[in-house]
Symmetry: C2
Subunit: 714 residues, 2 copies
């Protein structure tokens, strides 16, 4: 499920939410994310101070008490207050009351009741839930409610009734391609809990690495991991840490493809000849398990038998994707087996493998889940289909009675903006599914595939964008205002730092390293207006990079949601909307374009000193040119002068040059700058056409020649 760019882009285009309900965006002053199912603001405010106390009642088990204490520590660290660490004895008198009617499942399940009610008045904030996990979700909402003004911190008066829209709200972390230490994983669990995600899909084996200690087959981690794996104690620790936060851990051991690291250790599992070595590059590799030998199933049975003692979740992800069938096709014995059993192609053989696997999993009381390749005739109904290829296979499966989880549209490794993922709905209003069929859509998962992330960068790739995806999975379908999402996302991002998350701080750290200096103001200007190339372009942009390469390039330091480019785009858009005056934002844009134009001298000097930045020199030239072109366009608009075609062509040449990615980076404001140029060319029409018509006219003129980035409706 890694390499099919067009399918993914198609999914993104096709899946935009189509219906926006009558209820408007939430009150602009709050920073709740995900937005609760129902919020009713009330008068009154509950001050927060050193004297703020908390009580836990009902099924006040250790898990809920610990979660409540963590919440109180975060409340302290945000407000600077020192509160009592003892629980209040009189619940009625406590400032904060947390009540769970029952403990819920000891091991979190997909059927957990996560609903809660939260009421804040001038005297008490009360969270009431049926289960401990529901109460924990409410604790996170309480922390997002904390407000402040000149009179201090407080909880605003509010009544919230909340429950998730989908039961399965996951984050896949691929530690196969690059390993992530335990503390990194724990931080992601903390952040997941903060935005109410409830499944860590732990992708534990890959062509590039096998990441789990096996006592039955120790060569797996000894030979398949470069020494980077989790001990069984560490895995238990991670799973308990997740359980404490009401998060399930679903392991994935991908098979029969994506198994190079297994066959490095145990070549007898493979369908092709030795020698094997751990993959150091990316793509679809040939090694596949031999599905015709009993040895393979015995091995898998023993291995899974060992692993089920560690992973308590009811679900088990078998992967099942991207087996290219080459080793099967060239192995005479396998070919003979297929002929003997009347299997006409590799799909049939893989279905056979899956059915054997299913039996093993059933024996170990696990429910099977796999990528949508497994959705073949004869697939048992209890299997869960995990769609990376698009919504269609998910809906098709649902119509046939299969549960499904959507990841198409949530491939965060492709470095799309938060807005693009936010616009994808696992179950849009126009899905065409009956209610019964729709009930099979369990939810979705953001996928943090590991090609281009390491411990220093994975957090800025997951966060804060995944909070927007988490809202998509939790909040009502009608919550979909992009600007309001970004407003709240910025606040949530900072709150995640309270949990130790490194996503905000590591960008500057990498810039300092690149510049070999604390003085990174000029570099930040550049870093703030570029975005990483989207999709699967990076490998092409940075040839020669392997799994062992350092991820310390400028592309690793910048956000997928360039704040500078977004701001410039917004200002230009509004200016063009101010036709035919074009006065709105003009001064602000002039300042911005001038800064771009004038950044070159200092940046060029920096690059001379700091060779790690050499690859971005062309971008520095581009940015200066963009500034010049922007200023020229502003001048034309300010003087109501329609330029000559030669002027236009010169500007477009600049924009075309700047529009081509370099050093795996691109300028996301280039398309809007084309509109600015065409707007300058079309000033005469602006005086005769209706504003909306003119705006659309300019957009059409400015639309760039397609370069294969678009796609069909799936």
């Amino acid at each position: 499920m890694r390499t099919r760019l067009l399918l993914f882009i198609g999914a993104l285009s096709a899946l935009c939410v189509s219906d926006i309900g009558a209820q408007g965006p939430p009150a602009p002053s709050h920073f709740l994310m995900p937005v609760p199912a129902s919020v009713s603001w009330q008068s009154g405010r509950l001050p927060i101070s050193n004297a703020t106390t908390v009580a836990v009642t009902g099924a006040a088990d250790d898990r809920l008490k610990a979660a409540t204490q963590r919440m109180m520590r975060r409340l302290e660290s945000r407000t600077g207050h020192t509160m009592s660490r003892a629980f209040a004895k009189d619940p009625a008198a406590a400032a904060i009351l947390v009540e769970a009617k029952g403990p819920g499942a000891t091991i979190p399940t997909v059927d957990e009741d996560e609903s809660y009610a939260l009421t804040a008045t001038g005297t008490q904030l009360a969270i009431r839930a049926a289960t401990v996990v529901g109460a924990m979700r409410g604790l996170e909402t309480a922390l997002q409610l904390v407000s402040g003004d000149k009179d201090g911190f407080y909880f605003p008066g509010v009544q919230i009734q909340d429950r998730p829209r989908f039961r399965w709200r996951g984050l896949l972390i691929d530690v196969g391609r690059h390993f992530e230490p335990v503390d990194v994983i724990k931080r992601q669990l903390d952040a997941m809990a903060a935005v109410k995600l409830n499944v860590l899909h732990f992708h534990l084996s890959e062509d590039q690495g096998f990441r789990v200690e096996s006592k039955k087959f120790p060569k797996l981690h000894e030979l398949g991991s470069d020494g980077e794996y989790y001990t069984q104690d560490q895995l238990k620790d991670i799973i308990e840490y997740a359980r404490q936060r009401g998060i399930r851990v679903v392991p994935e051991f991908d098979m029969p493809g994506h198994v190079t690291s297994w066959v490095v250790a145990y070549p007898e599992l493979a369908s092709g000849p030795e020698p094997f070595s751990i993959a150091r590059t990316y793509g679809v590799f040939d090694p596949a398990f031999d599905p015709t030998r009993e040895f393979t199933y015995k091995f898998i049975d023993t291995f899974i038998g060992e692993m089920v003692k560690i992973f308590p979740d009811a679900y088990w992800h078998i992967g099942g994707d991207e087996n290219n069938g080459k080793q099967w096709g060239t192995n005479a014995e396998i070919q003979a087996f297929m002929k003997k059993h009347g299997m006409k192609d590799a799909h049939a053989l893989q279905t056979h493998f899956n059915q054997r696997l299913l039996a093993i999993l059933k024996k170990h009381n696990k429910r099977m889940m796999g990528w949508d390749e497994i959705f073949q005739p004869g697939l048992p109904k209890e299997t869960v289909v995990h769609s990376w290829r698009g919504q269609k296979s998910l809906f098709d499966a649902a119509k046939q009675g299969y549960d499904g989880v959507l990841s198409a549209g949530y491939y965060i490794d492709l470095l799309e903006t938060a807005a693009r993922h936010y616009a994808v709905d696992p179950l849009p209003a126009n899905s065409g599914l009956t209610d019964a069929e729709a009930a099979h859509i369990l939810g979705g998962e953001a996928t943090m595939w590991g090609e281009w992330v390491g411990p220093d960068t994975i957090e800025s790739r997951i966060w804060p964008r995944s909070a927007a995806i988490a809202e998509r999975f939790w909040s009502p379908r009608e919550v979909n205002d992009e600007d309001d999402m970004y407003r709240r996302l910025a606040r949530v991002s900072i709150q995640l730092e309270e949990l130790g998350l490194q996503h905000e701080r590591n960008g500057d750290m990498l810039l300092r390293r690149l510049a070999a200096s604390r003085d990174i103001a000029a570099l930040k200007l550049l870093a703030g207006v570029v975005e990483p190339v989207k999709g699967y372009q990076r490998g092409g942009q940075q040839r020669g990079q392997t799994t062992l390469s350092p991820m310390t390039h400028l592309v690793d330091a910048v956000s997928t949601d360039s704040p500078g480019a977004r701001e410039a785009r917004r200002l230009m858009d509004a200016m063009l909307g101010d036709a035919p005056r074009f006065a709105l934002n003009r001064d602000r844009l002039r300042t911005i374009f001038t800064t771009w134009r004038d950044s070159r001298k200092e940046l060029d000097a920096l690059i001379e000193r700091a060779p790690a930045l050499k690859e971005v020199a062309p971008l520095v030239a581009d940015l200066a040119d963009l500034g010049t072109a922007g200023l020229a366009s502003l001048d034309m608009l300010a003087h109501a002068a329609t330029p000559l075609p030669e002027w236009r062509d010169a500007q477009l040449a600049i924009l075309d040059r700047a529009g081509r990615p370099k050093a795996a980076l691109e300028f996301p404001m280039v398309p809007m700058m084309r509109e600015l140029v065409f707007g300058a060319m079309s000033q005469a029409e602006a005086r005769t056409m209706k504003p909306d018509e003119w705006r659309a006219h300019v957009k059409t003129l400015a639309a760039p020649p397609r370069r294969g980035r678009g796609g069909g409706p799936q």
Copy 2:
């Protein structure tokens, strides 16, 4: 050794390096820290690229191989290159050659030979050392040699002969008052190795917490730690991590005072009556072991017997400081014991205790070390005296044949600038010691006492300042140029980030939390011109704070070496040196003062929204006033107008007000701004006096009334 401000300040004043050798500051283009004993720059440069290879020869044990691999990974992460992970087979052809003649001690000792030679030519960088640890020190130097220009990264041609000036170069980390997680400790070990520190003095028990798992006396960690302690496996892991980096770990279990957390668990150890509870505040507490009961010694013997299996170092720190003797004085049995044995005071009883302790340590093959209170008549000669009170006791002890380690002057918890600590020499030229006596000065230790640091802030309190102290312990006495130290320190600080250190990045993180926003430009302006109050003032400034209070105030986010204040001071100083024209830096200062003056509006608005900043509102007003006063002084100087006394008094009133600490912060440029005011008043004299005389005259006029911050010569 915690509370005696005056003594410490006295030590700082008295211990300035008195002799500066003939050799000047090192070539300004290098960033070596500590500066090696001998450096000779050569022509030639060795390019660094994807093709850079490394070979390890001689006693190429696993420790050296691992250290070399770590060095190569850092080289990659800094340059962006991807190098081979295999060692080169032909040492002569390798770009980097690492050779250790012998393995050195398996457990690092105080006698380890840490010397090395490093030679870089156009074809090879070679590190040669007698021991593995020596070679590791050379690896760190190699990383500091990495240079870059428009032609790429390279090692400059050089010949280095290096060895430490002192054998004992320590960092004390107090995890008793605030616990620090294992990963924090490991990062400090990485950073220590990077600047060639070689002793982690691990202060493991305190009135506020007992931080070690004991299987013999489990109540110690169960009742004495709030659940925050190291398991024995974690301790072994830390010690092995240190050993891998050639760092010793010397444990300190402070006794007979500073033992509240012990007697919470085992009150039978105490000299006073129950109940006891873990200390939540700071100071000298009464609880002390009962030195008259055999139970006490049996307990200690058993405990140490358990701990020596974990801590392999030859030295054992018993603390021994700040026992106030109150419990002994009010315990009738203890008084009777003293009378019976002819002990005239608590000192005599503590000497008795120490001698019993010494026998226990001897039995366990440990050499005893303690704070200078233990330096009493009859102290066995093999004891090491650790001086927190000043150099005098160290020298006195050395004269009597005792080994000693200096910490007076290196109390980094007191938040003095790097320059102040850098100026303290453990063995100044005027020490008066003979060579034989001087040989007893083993070295020094920076002390990170734990009152006001937690996991998010301890790194910015230790680093980068401790790199300057490390240079003092390693480099020749004559290396003492303050400006050059700061120049190199800024670079070293960024290189430490490659090791995961959080000291640079966590400041902004805390500012974002305080502002509840990513937009922290205005707040950074303020944060950049303040410093934490020095010494022991914070407790008085922030009353009500306990060990349980969050350390998320502005004071926790700012550096001990304010870059903005240092810059402003430097500019003002040079301007006054430009008498009687006062033209130098005038425009630059005008810009700075204007920025200060105009910062108020935005900062006040921020504080209205962000109540966690409320305590700094007076500082915002002060900064604006300082800007106004600065501009007024500039005007007077620019117009050669001598102001009236009323003007002077008005400015001084502003400076006095701004000079008073608030929110545990102070403006370090205020004294220099007084000079600016008195300079403006003394313009007439500037035209008649010699420049140096006039400058001294102004300094005298501007000297503030003493407020008890100074002190005698010890």
